[in-house]
């Protein structure tokens, strides 16, 4: 509060005229001087008496004159007293107002923050701006572990682990106390060597009577903290407590929500591995949780079966673990190829794969060829390791299929029910008989728009187990090794001729043609099969209604 000045009072518009009229009516001279004897009013020559003018025991000047001057002094002292009271009140109002203004601004700042450490840092900065200190911290009291967590700091003090965790350490005591105090006695302060503080002021952070922690300011100089400082820091702590608490809760909620989301994501991720997404989508559902018992859909698909040849023999040479590892690495190789061609794996059945292609059959054939090519690579690697090559058979058939959710209330399964699946499995089995890698039915072939892209050989008609209708089947050799492919391509016309003669019951011509193929390519085992068949019929009586059908080849 600024000092009262006598001059300011006397020069007031309402005071000066009063003094003049007093001077006139008293018929006696008086003068007013300030504390430095500078004349502020009247004439000061030959005055006999002097009377002091004071405010709060401080001499501001005097009135000089005759005895009557005493009345003037009393009057002025009364005005000074009133003026002083008014100023004191004004100062108090201003202080209160500044506090209010500070809280208002501080709340506004806090309202814009959502991170606990940002709130703590703002509170600390504000505290240091208002209360002189060399450094400060905001700490949270971890009740469960009886230790402190640093939320914000400034002034660069490096606290030791002990300051924060040691049972009974001063900082821990302060933060857990729930009090707000000033500490300036040296022995106590020596407990926190690292702060080098001469005095400490701290205020507790509390929410609903629960002690959260504290704001602590350190002063390395000799200045003393005042009760006013403590009041300010307490106000600040009160304001920030609930903000920090809300922010911590918010952070916790977000974290938990994220964890739940993450758990859901992992569950979802694993479920789509068990039940392919395409399966769910085919049922017209987005996520597996939408699926209900009895959901089903019928559509035309191409089913692909793949099986490792002589797996039994192969697996006998391996331990169960090696077996499992082998099948896994094989499936890991083939799975992505199927997915890349818009198919999905309906089931892994040991060494066999059953895949469904809901789109065009072209996808299935492309996948089969690529699987064969990938196998060739796989075998090249095996060869380097002195391992025998693996052979697979792939069979495909296109037809209607029902996908659905079967089971009971407590145990559901994603199932396919279809004759198409059985047929595809039978076709796959035929690859053993015909000694070729990939066989597809006419139903599949009909969906291929660019047949020239895939090299095919007609293998005649078959009647598979459990099926009344005859199936026309074709070998696709596009996935053969480069050498095999070139040989089959160069003999393709002769082979086709042979097949035409064969179906035409011209077994002699057929045998000659197949022999020609074998002469050119001794490794063409399929041609050898047909040579044997043709030769057999050559010496047998063939019924009139012979349809060149191969029956019960699967048994």
């Amino acid at each position: 509060m600024a000092r009262l000045k006598l001059n300011n009072l006397i020069s007031k518009k309402e005071v000066t005229p009063l003094l003049s009229s007093f001077a006139a009516s008293l018929a006696s001279q008086f003068c007013i001087e300030d504390e430095k004897e500078k004349i502020l009013f009247g004439n000061c020559d030959e005055q006999t008496h002097e009377y002091l003018l004071k405010s709060d025991d401080e001499i501001l000047g005097k009135v000089r004159g005759d005895g009557n001057a005493e009345r003037i002094a009393e009057f002025l002292n009364l005005l000074l007293y009133k003026e002083s009271e008014k100023k004191k009140l004004g100062t108090e109002v201003l202080n209160l107002y500044q506090e209010l203004n500070f809280i208002f601004n501080f709340s506004e700042k806090l309202a814009q923050l959502i991170e606990p450490d940002a709130i703590a840092q703002t509170a600390l900065n504000e505290a240091q701006h208002l209360i002189s200190s060399t450094s400060g911290v905001v700490v949270l009291f971890d009740e469960a572990h009886i230790r402190l967590n640093l939320l914000a700091s400034s002034g660069g003090i490096n606290f030791s682990e002990d300051d924060f965790n040691e049972h009974g350490s001063l900082l821990l005591q302060l933060a857990a106390s729930g009090q707000s105090e000033i500490i300036s006695d040296a022995p106590t302060l020596q407990n926190i060597q690292s702060s080098q503080a001469q005095s400490i002021i701290y205020a507790s952070l509390k929410v609903n009577q629960r002690v959260m922690g504290a704001i602590i300011l350190f002063n390395q100089g000799f200045g003393q903290y005042t009760a006013g400082d403590l009041k300010l820091l307490t106000t600040l702590a009160l304001q920030s407590s609930s903000a920090i608490n809300s922010a911590l809760l918010y952070e916790k909620n977000i974290r938990e929500a994220r964890e739940r989301e993450e758990a859901m994501r992992r569950i979802h991720e694993i479920t789509v591995k068990f039940v392919p997404r395409e399966f769910i989508r085919s049922l017209g559902k987005e996520v597996i949780t939408d699926v209900r018992l009895g959901d089903q859909v019928e559509r035309e698909v191409t089913v692909l079966f793949s099986d490792i040849r002589d797996f039994t023999t192969l697996s006998e040479q391996m331990t169960p673990a090696e077996n499992f590892f082998f099948v896994s690495s094989f499936n890991e190789l083939m799975g992505p190829i199927i997915r890349r061609h818009n198919g999905f794996i309906n089931q892994y059945l040991g060494d066999a794969i059953m895949a469904i292609f809901p789109g065009s059959a072209v996808d299935a054939v492309a996948a089969a060829v690529e699987m064969q090519l990938a196998l060739n690579e796989f075998n090249n690697e095996r060869k380097i390791k002195n391992q025998l090559p693996i052979q697979i058979g792939i069979g495909m058939h296109t037809g209607p299929l029902i996908m659905g959710i079967t089971g009971d209330e407590l145990r559901l399964d994603a199932t396919t029910i279809s004759d198409t699946v059985n047929t595809a499995a039978r076709i796959e089995n035929l690859t053993k008989h015909f000694k070729c890698g990939v066989i597809l039915t006419n139903e599949t072939l009909q969906q291929l728009s660019q047949t020239e892209k895939y090299k095919l050989r007609h293998l005649g008609l078959v009647k598979v187990k459990g099926k009344k209708n005859l199936l026309s089947i074709h070998e696709c050799f596009s996935g053969n090794t480069e050498l095999q492919f070139q040989m089959k391509l160069s003999t393709l016309n002769i082979f086709s001729d042979g097949m035409s003669f064969y179906l035409d019951k011209s077994f002699e011509k057929a045998a000659t043609a197949f022999q020609n193929v074998i002469d050119a390519d001794a490794a063409d085992l399929t041609a050898k099969i047909f040579l044997r068949k043709a030769t057999k019929y050559l010496n047998a009586v063939v019924p009139e209604d012979w349809m060149a059908v191969e029956e019960n080849l699967n048994s």
Binding site: A2, K5, K86, K87, L89, G90, T91, V93, L94
Partner: protein, 126 residues
């Protein structure tokens, strides 16, 4: 020459507050005048022609906007620097304040430091 400063607010504690905030100006030979309503304010302004007026908007009898309009538009006292004070949340008054010719506009609760700085600036006091 002595400079004059007028504080106009119908609330006594606000007048006291502004006066206290600007206390140190007294030492720079600034005379403080005050008024508790618009009519009185207009009277003092036309008589004393203060250099700076802190003028509350919400007042009985004649509101601050009207006082400002008369001073600037009718009396043509463009040398009287008028700071309009309005309550927080009445920021829409800002445009209206400009229309009636106010020089600057501040919201209550005001920041004492900002208020003092403004006064010093207008009265050219270091």
């Amino acid at each position: 020459m002595q400079q004059k400063l007028l504080i106009v607010d119908d609330e006594a504690h606000i007048r006291m507050l502004i006066e206290q905030t600007l206390e140190e100006l007294e030492d720079n030979d600034v005379e403080f005048l005050s008024a508790d309503n618009g009519e009185k304010a207009l009277e003092i302004i036309s008589e004393e022609k203060p250099h700076l007026v802190f003028l509350d908007v919400m007042m009985p009898k004649m509101n601050g906007m009207e006082v400002c309009r008369r001073v600037k538009k009718e009396l043509g006292l463009n040398d009287v620097y008028i700071v309009l004070l309005t309550a927080k949340g009445q920021e829409l008054d800002r445009q209206k304040g400009q229309e009636v010719g106010a020089d600057v506009y501040m919201t209550k609760p005001f920041d004492p430091e900002v208020l003092l700085k403004k006064a010093k600036e207008v009265l050219s006091i270091e």
